[in-house]
Symmetry: C2
Subunit: 115 residues, 2 copies
């Protein structure tokens, strides 16, 4: 059993040409012995974005703070804001973009092998 607050979790800045202004934290995951799932938190600066990509596993998301949009393969943009839940199915192209003036922060669950 474990309980932890986000400010106790180290953050790593994601470095990639496909990413802008994104930090990653893992409050609960592989290092804790989770057999199935891993919970990551991403914090995206205003104007920042995650990669526009796809992979053969799902994301389950909860938006903790801020506002932005979630893009799909067709280029459609779904507005997302604090309090929203989201699902990205396997092999769906997707990208999270911060369109607001404050940080966009969200939980992103993945199968533990893809932490």
């Amino acid at each position: 059993m474990k309980t932890i607050k986000l400010n106790e979790v180290p953050a790593a800045v994601l470095e990639s040409p496909e990413v802008r202004g994104v930090r990653k934290q893992v409050p609960v995951g592989v290092a804790d012995g989770t057999p199935t799932m891993s919970l990551r938190v991403f914090t995206v600066e205003p104007g920042g974005y995650t990669p526009f990509h796809a992979h053969p596993w799902e994301h389950i998301n909860y938006i903790l703070a801020g506002e932005g949009e979630l893009l799909n393969e067709a280029g459609e943009r779904r507005a997302i804001a604090a309090g929203d839940y989201a699902l990205v199915l396997p092999d769906e192209m997707h990208q999270f973009r911060n369109t607001g003036d404050s940080e966009l922060q969200f939980i992103c669950l993945v199968p533990r092998d893809h932490e």
Copy 2:
């Protein structure tokens, strides 16, 4: 791809002698085609609690609102409050109790077969 707000999700009251004042919602889960994980939200009334039990799969939790405690097998009580993350490993006895004056609400992730 799906986005949804919690107030759009139907709630079921849990009926069991081991449970008091608990509602369950599933914003993202099996009905959406998730291959691995399911995200449930439990809302516990003041004085309410979930079952004190164990099962061979993990919980990953995020506390959305309120305050309470998470009990373990030894009867130890960890304080939990909005913003905290928690992990219950497989086969650990556990119970969530609302010790506050407002609703305790938390995300509870499980492998999809145990939604």
